[in-house]
């Protein structure tokens, strides 16, 4: 086993070697511009892109004509939200989204607010989920778009997408979902889920970085977005720029593999995740954040009370994880997602997101269980807060000195 071990697969994933092999010829041999219509270099590149477009469309149950290639999910989210705002300005200016969305969605919405949009940010419950009734209650005659992420990047919780999509369709409101964490991991179907726009990316599913897609529905209803990049009018005029052919080829292959391996990956990773989680929950005052039932199979977000985040990260330096620490020390920003859950006594704990992936081994899980358990126990042994908790002292009853 090689150290450090990688358990941060919600951030990005190692490329699958099969993807890498598929991409290789498109750097040195088939290097044409897919938009070049006058020679074989261009035709070959175009053919490769067409094939990849089919592979990418298939994983979300779409038609290849509905796929707009982008540089990644951030661009897709921006294009969906800003593009709808411009395209449907005559219809209305009200947007509905959720407080725990990715910054690419939240900040795009904030940008639109400056331009005159009205945005409703719905709060989530303590389990990280929103209720369909919240969406229904927030709809107005001016609502043009509802944007709700498929699965949350920090918690892994899966929102009730189909129910939300149904409400939107019934009310004639467009529905966008940032499905970056979900596609390739759990079944996603734009038709069954009533999705009109969907953002996703290659690098979260063992594909290359720098390539993603926006699904834009073509019928029932026909959806259009105003381009945010002006230029050669590529991608049906919605996204100009020379296509990233090797990236797109890799993204396509990654989708094909993900579709084939989804069930077995989910089963295997789910079992490993549960083993990790159950072992860590043996520690006292340890909690899982977010709904455990409606959750991605490879993700676990766990809080350890009375342990400081940065100190814990230092103790588990052989494991690459993300800390959604709730502490406010200089270098670790509190996670707005965790804050939105309204965690009790949230300031005296630290949270770690474990993200398993296709290449995670049982041996690595054993190592992680050991390493985290040792570090948490060690830090609690030296934590005055833990001692107070053990003595039954309420931390809120103490007058702390500001510094």
């Amino acid at each position: 086993m090689k150290l450090p071990i990688y358990l941060d697969n919600n951030s990005t994933t190692q490329m699958d070697p099969r993807v890498f092999e598929t991409m290789k010829p498109y750097f040195l041999e088939v290097y044409g511009n897919a938009a070049s219509k006058s020679h074989s270099f261009g035709w070959q590149a175009e053919e490769a892109v067409d094939y990849a477009r089919e592979q990418v469309a298939k994983i979300i149950g779409a038609s290849s004509k509905e796929i707009i290639f982008t540089s990644g999910a951030t661009e897709s989210n921006n294009l969906a939200i800003k593009g709808v705002y411009e395209m449907y300005a005559a219809k209305g200016n009200h947007f509905i989204t959720v407080s725990t969305e990715h910054k690419a969605v939240l900040d795009a919405c904030k940008h639109l607010e400056k331009l005159g949009a009205e945005v409703t940010y719905l709060p989530v419950g303590t389990d990280g989920l929103i209720q369909v009734s919240q969406i229904e209650a927030a709809l107005k005659s001016t609502t043009v778009l509802v944007s709700v992420m498929y699965a949350n990047n920090e918690l892994g919780v899966i929102q009730p997408i189909r129910e939300i999509g149904e409400v939107c369709r019934k009310n004639g409101v467009l529905f966008h979902t940032d499905a970056t964490q979900a596609v390739g991991k759990i079944p996603v179907d734009v038709n069954a889920d009533f999705i009109d726009l969907l953002s996703f990316t290659g690098h979260k599913m063992y594909g290359p970085k720098g390539v993603g897609a926006l699904y834009v529905r073509r019928k029932n209803p026909r959806v259009k977005v105003t381009a945010q990049l002006d230029g050669g009018g590529h991608e049906r005029g919605m996204r100009s720029g020379t296509l990233n052919v090797p990236g797109i080829v890799g993204f396509g292959k990654a989708c094909e593999i993900a579709l084939t391996d989804m069930d077995s990956d989910a089963k295997r990773l789910g079992a490993m995740r549960d083993r990790l989680e159950n072992a860590l929950l043996q520690l006292e005052e340890t909690y899982v954040n977010g709904n455990k039932e409606h959750r991605l199979p490879h993700t676990a977000n766990i809080s350890f009370k009375y342990v400081e985040g940065e100190g814990l990260m230092m103790g588990i330096k052989d494991i690459a994880v993300s800390s959604g620490s709730a502490c406010t020390s200089a270098s670790l920003e509190p996670s707005y997602v965790l804050k939105n859950l309204g965690l009790d006594d949230e300031l005296a704990h630290s949270s770690i997101r474990f993200g398993l992936g296709r290449f995670t081994t049982e041996e690595e899980i054993d190592f992680a269980i050991n390493c985290v358990t040792t570090a948490v126990n060690k830090l609690r042994d030296m934590s005055p807060l833990w001692e107070m908790f053990k003595e039954g002292i309420d931390l809120k009853s103490i007058e702390w000195t500001e510094h």
Binding site: G309, E310, G315, L347, W400
Partner: protein, 138 residues
């Protein structure tokens, strides 16, 4: 962020972790920091009434590696010293010894505050006035 070797050493092998009996009249306890700031230090000293020498020192810290190292180092330094000598420890001495980066200077300040708070607690038990901090922190 890279930690200095000395911070890693104190984090890995902290000196003087533990708890002294805070009800003991020869024990002074200082609790500084706040959970919402991400650092809480508790530093305790056991003082010989006749000599004024700090015969034992213990700490417990909730915080980052630099906070743990600062308090560990502080206990190491004050053990065997008189109260007056302990009071002369400057937070910048800790910064220098542990090679703390600017964002971690507050950890050293907290350690110095913890020493002072423990000494004041001891003084209070002996019916003495608390010492007022004369210096401003770096």
């Amino acid at each position: 962020m890279a930690y200095s070797e000395k911070v890693v050493d104190h984090y890995t092998n902290p000196r003087n972790i533990g708890t002294l009996d805070k009800a003991d009249t020869n024990v002074g306890t200082g609790l500084v920091g706040a959970p919402e700031c991400g650092d809480v230090m508790r530093l305790q000293i056991q003082v010989n009434d006749e000599t004024g020498v700090i015969e034992d020192a213990k700490f417990k810290t909730f915080g980052c590696g630099s906070a743990i190292a600062s308090s560990s180092l502080a206990t190491e330094w004050i053990k065997g010293k008189t109260i007056d000598q302990a009071l002369s420890i400057d937070n910048m001495d800790i910064v220098e010894e542990l090679a703390l980066p600017p964002v971690k200077i507050h950890c050293s300040v907290l350690a110095e505050d913890a020493i002072r708070a423990a000494i004041n607690d001891y003084r209070a038990k002996k019916g003495l006035e608390p010492l007022v901090s004369e210096k401003t922190h770096h």
